[in-house]
């Protein structure tokens, strides 16, 4: 089948490769995609479609899990008990999202243990944004507002992704993310209405997180290798650049409410386009962080590895207990 309109210069026409599955299976898959319906775990699907989803969904899950760290670091130092409770609940939500997404990925036949190994061995990617440090409390605001904000813009279209379990997971996750973004905005609002030191802390955090959050949408369309095929499969609905523009357009009026500025001299309303123009992003930095040379890559992975290794004896004990008590239950039934 063909996509109704080429949405990027790279839009492809074929959603399945010949030589895989029966004609009937391929036709059914193609018709589901053409009708914009959902593929379910037991349906036949092309192996490349399955691979793409496992990669994307597990990267998303890993991002939730690694993304807990910069915020968890502030739980013990949150400046009020109310903020401590909210932050704990937020980081807990992220663990929940990770679990939910790993479970959804398991429906494609790849287990959580395999995915976890890929993560701690450094073979899997997660969102590069979490390799930036969160040195001040205002970073909790900036992460909520900008990072969760960008995540929502990315994820809302995924609620219509063609793979059912992913789409359904995203519906719930997006609801919670929207609270996360509001709490980030509210942290910054409180700081901007506070003392001069608090205002400076807020502005400094936004200065540091603005460009990295824009890079969360991935490389420019012309350089995005996975986009075209994902769009043909109705996994991705909008291009990286379209989503990035949507995010900037959303942010500017919110920044005005906060009384906060962005570190981009080229940021200006373009009447002709009906959008905000913004400056070129530092894609070399993006490539560096992606390649593992960002400020916190090593420590984030090490922390995950430590948690996994330190917990090995606990998981072994739980498994051993399950085996032993299963045996006892059988003995009990026999007696």
């Amino acid at each position: 089948m063909t996509v109704s309109e080429p949405r990027t210069p790279h839009a492809v026409s074929a959603v399945t490769d010949a030589g895989e599955g029966t004609d009937e299976e391929r036709a059914l898959f193609e018709s589901v995609i053409a009708d914009d319906k959902r593929i379910e775990p037991r349906d036949w699907m092309p192996s490349a479609y399955r691979r793409t989803l496992v990669r994307q969904m597990s990267q998303h899950a890993h991002s939730e899990i690694i993304g807990m760290q910069p915020e968890a670091n502030w739980i013990t130092r949150a400046p009020s008990l109310k903020r401590k409770a909210i932050l704990m609940a937020k980081v807990q939500d992220e663990a929940g999202h990770g679990l939910y997404l790993y479970s959804a990925t398991e429906t494609l036949g790849t287990g959580r243990d395999v995915l976890n190994d890929q993560l701690i061995q450094g073979k899997a990617r997660y969102s590069s944004i979490f390799n930036y440090p969160a040195p001040t409390w205002a970073d909790m605001g900036a992460i909520g507002w900008l990072v969760d904000g960008a995540a929502i813009v990315n994820q809302v279209p995924l609620c219509r992704a063609s793979f059912g379990p992913y789409a359904r997971a995203m519906v719930r996750i997006c609801k919670e993310e929207s609270f996360h973004q509001r709490q980030g905005f509210e942290i910054l609002l409180e700081l901007m209405q506070g003392t001069q030191a608090q205002q400076e802390m807020a502005q400094d955090a936004v200065n540091r997180w603005f460009a990295p959050s824009l890079m969360m949408f991935g490389p420019p369309d012309a350089e995005s290798t996975n986009s075209a095929q994902s769009m043909a499969w109705n996994i991705k609905r909008f291009s990286n650049d379209e989503l990035r523009q949507r995010f900037v357009d959303m942010l500017v009026p919110q920044a005005e409410v906060l009384g906060i500025t962005f570190p981009d001299p080229e940021l200006a309303w373009n009447e002709e386009r009906g959008h905000y123009d913004f400056g070129e992003l530092d894609w070399d930095e993006f490539a560096e962080v992606l390649a593992g040379r960002g400020p916190c890559n090593a420590q984030r992975l090490q922390r995950r590895r430590d948690a996994h290794n330190d917990g090995a004896w606990v998981r072994e004990a739980a498994a051993a207990y399950a085996r032993k008590t299963a045996g006892r239950a059988v003995e009990g039934a026999a007696a």
């Binding site: 899990i65 739980i75 807990q92 243990d113 917990g311 498994a319 051993a320």
Partner: protein
Amino acid sequence: MSVTDKPVTDKAVTHKPVTDQVENQAVANSSTGQTAVPSTAVAEYALGLGDDALILAQQLGQWISRAPELEEDVALANIALDLLGHARQLLSYAGRAWDKSEDDLAYFRDEPEFRSVHLVEQPNGDFAHTIVRQLIFSSYQFELYSELVKSTDPMIQAIAAKAVKEVDYHRDHAVQWTLRLGIGTDQSHARMATALIDLWPYVDELFHDHAVTKDGKLKSELSGIAVVPSTLRARFDSRTAEVLERAELTAPATFIARGGGRRGVHSEYLGPLLAEMQVLARQHPGASW
């Protein structure tokens, strides 16, 4: 691997969305005690219970993103959130006696002004230490709140009524893990035995009466309101003995730590814990967040 036999209850594993935090304030705002100002004696009593919950919540918060399994990140965060909720209600109520907010009390008191017991000050250690500490504390707290639901003080009664249900789950979570770690492997058994030896000395202080009694009897200002801790000991002992026996573990015959937390005499661990908790608030006195 994933732990197929998940030792957490449905309640404990269901994570709390950020919105649920509003619920925790419901008790504090309930009509029964919205403006009631506790007597100094009641406020001091509430402060002790609140400090225990606060310090333990602070400790458990350190596990989030470091737990042995994602389910435990969620479960330990849940328990920490429950305890933090109890602490906020108790500190807010106590604070009315001195015109202090929950944050004034949490962030701007020094170490000797805290009233927490030594057990909750003990470090997280490995997962076995955290579970043993939780088993002891939740078992004690369950008995305590089960009695406080009969308190004649409407705020204490309301807080206990909400908290006792949550603590029942905390205890269940600790019991389930005690069984798994006690019976699971030689290593997990040995770690639990070590944790019991390290933490059992701090059991006794939970049941010290001096903070609420005078001349061997409950202070008159607390009559009908507070519980004499020693009256909870027998039930605590029989319940924990039963759990430990099922887990193939025993309560060690060990020394009894002197305690003193309710008088402001603390272990070495409390100072650094408070330094971390209070650092940002104290850098910006008077600021709101």
